[in-house]
């Protein structure tokens, strides 16, 4: 599904990605983990074509990304910070994104129902709380039926009930055979949903495999300690 080959990216003097090779097959939930500044968001933005790599190649479904924009029709992306144009209303924003994607078969009604957003539909986005914005963000992401879903910190600002609903939503999408890429700092959430994790450390892939493989590699009894042992080893 996603093939990343020898990806390098620097911002000025700051080398963020130092040769990433990653292969993600179709179907399943993959979590990208790593400390702050390890290049998770940069990697995702490279896959989306928002950040242009210095060298290396990315293929989605064997098609190279360079000078191509139509492939984003096959991706649903949840940005990390839910920033929207403030003077649009929620329903206008949803209609606009639908219009831009030329998509008719959507399930926005269902999702608005799920996250109880009806009372906010006619409000301007500038007046919504952080959590409500994140719910709108989730509706915008999940309302299309694309084979690849990329979620950057999806649990940001969500209350426990919405958190639970999000988990069910992710599992339902996985059951449809979709590929889901998640970044998150909430380890319990990652442990619960993901099939495989990719651990980024200082711009390189430190580990890729299942959580049980990580535990046996680091000789730690649980996931949290396994992650902590990688981090303390690298900072020591």
């Amino acid at each position: 599904m996603i093939e990343v080959k020898d990806l390098y990216k620097r911002f000025g003097k700051n080398e963020v990605l130092k040769g990433i090779d990653l292969h993600i097959q179709r179907g399943g939930i993959f979590s990208v983990l790593g400390p702050n500044g390890s290049g998770k968001t940069t990697l995702i933005k490279c896959i989306l074509g928002m950040v242009l790599q210095d060298s290396g190649q990315i293929f989605i479904d064997k098609k190279p990304l360079k000078n191509n924009f139509k492939y984003r029709n096959e991706i649903d992306y949840l940005p990390q910070i839910a920033n929207f144009p403030g003077n649009l209303k929620v329903n206008e924003l949803i209609a606009m994104i639908k219009d831009l994607r030329d998509s008719k078969a959507t399930k926005d009604g269902e999702l608005i129902e799920l996250f109880k957003l009806q009372p906010f539909l006619n409000k301007k986005l500038a007046n919504l709380s952080g959590g409500t914005k994140q719910k709108v963000n989730l509706v915008l992401t999940f309302m299309f039926d694309s084979p690849l879903i990329i979620l950057d910190e999806p649990t940001n600002g969500l209350d426990p009930i919405s958190h639970l609903r999000l988990k069910n939503l992710i599992n339902a999408e996985k059951a449809k055979g979709k590929t889901i890429l998640i970044t998150s700092h909430i380890l319990s959430f990652v442990e619960e949903v993901s099939d495989e994790i990719v651990f980024l450390l200082e711009g390189k892939i430190y580990f890729k495999g299942s959580i049980s493989e990580l535990k046996s590699k680091t000789e730690q009894p649980d996931f949290e300690h396994a992650i902590a042992s990688i981090l303390s080893a690298s900072y020591a």
Binding site: L48, M50, F69, Y71, R72, P79, F84, P85, G86, L100
Partner: protein, 260 residues
């Protein structure tokens, strides 16, 4: 691109500033016409206002819009939309809505005053066309500056400096050099120097059309003699168009290579 243009345009049509700008021109038109009671004189006064003000508003609005719509831009970048269409769409959205405020705001009072029955109609249309050109030119330059500068304060600073240079400093340097080199033949120099600055170019274009180029003194005489009025008009228009096209090309090129 048309979809982005549509949304940017709607977005601006709702903003208070478009109306303020529109009302300002409406008021200016009404006041000038009814205090002056002379169409040709009103056109000349308007020219002096437009030549300075339109570039300023175009620059400020362009920079402001770009920085304010960053979120919108990032949202769009993750959608299956071409990069160049996002930025060109936004640019044309801003420039079109500003030009509309200008044309409609000034046009209305003049239409009610009876511009259609007057001989000043061509001068007036030329004034509006140059105003629209200046809007497009300076909004494009503002977008280029904003795309190049992540830092808002710096972006605003450069934009204001650009306006100040084009509208004020350039003329100062031009005049100084005319005085300094007065012993040499300066025809070609003054022609080229005038054409290199869109603000001066628009001024000359309108003055030539108004047939009061004698007022311009030296430059006017040179322009009149060198071009003859029609050829001068076409060349100046072509240059104004070039002033729109070159920054637009830069918007396209910078947008293609930028990280978000």
């Amino acid at each position: 691109m048309l979809k982005i243009l549509k949304y940017s345009f709607y977005d601006l049509m709702r903003s208070r500033w478009s109306y303020v700008y529109f009302l300002f021109y409406l008021l200016l038109g009404v006041v000038l016409l009814f205090l002056n009671n002379d169409l040709s004189k009103a056109v000349i006064t308007l020219m002096n206002v437009i030549i300075i003000l339109v570039p300023l508003i175009g620059t400020i609005f362009g920079v402001m819009y770009y920085y304010n719509s960053r979120e919108f831009t990032e949202l769009l970048l993750a959608q299956p939309v071409k990069r160049s269409s996002i930025f060109l769409g936004q640019y044309f959205g801003v420039a079109t809505s500003l030009s509309m405020s200008l044309v409609i705001g000034l046009g209305m009072p003049f239409v009610f005053y009876g511009i259609f029955n007057s001989s000043a109609i061509w001068d007036f249309s030329l004034l509006l066309i140059t105003g629209a050109f200046l809007t497009f030119i300076f909004t494009a330059l503002a977008f280029v500056i904003a795309l190049r500068n992540e830092n808002k304060i710096k972006g605003f600073g450069y934009a204001i400096l650009l306006w100040l240079f084009m509208a004020v400093i350039y003329d100062g340097i031009f005049l100084m050099s005319l005085l300094y080199f007065e012993d040499y033949p300066l025809d070609k120099f003054s022609l080229v120097a005038t054409m290199l600055n869109p603000v001066d170019l628009s001024r000359v274009l309108i003055l030539l059309k108004l047939d009061i180029s004698a007022l311009l003194g030296y430059t006017g005489a040179v322009f009149q003699k060198f071009f003859g009025t029609n050829f001068g008009l076409i060349l100046s228009s072509a240059l104004l168009a070039l002033w729109v096209l070159v920054p637009t090309f830069f918007i396209w090129r910078i947008a293609k290579k930028k990280d978000f």
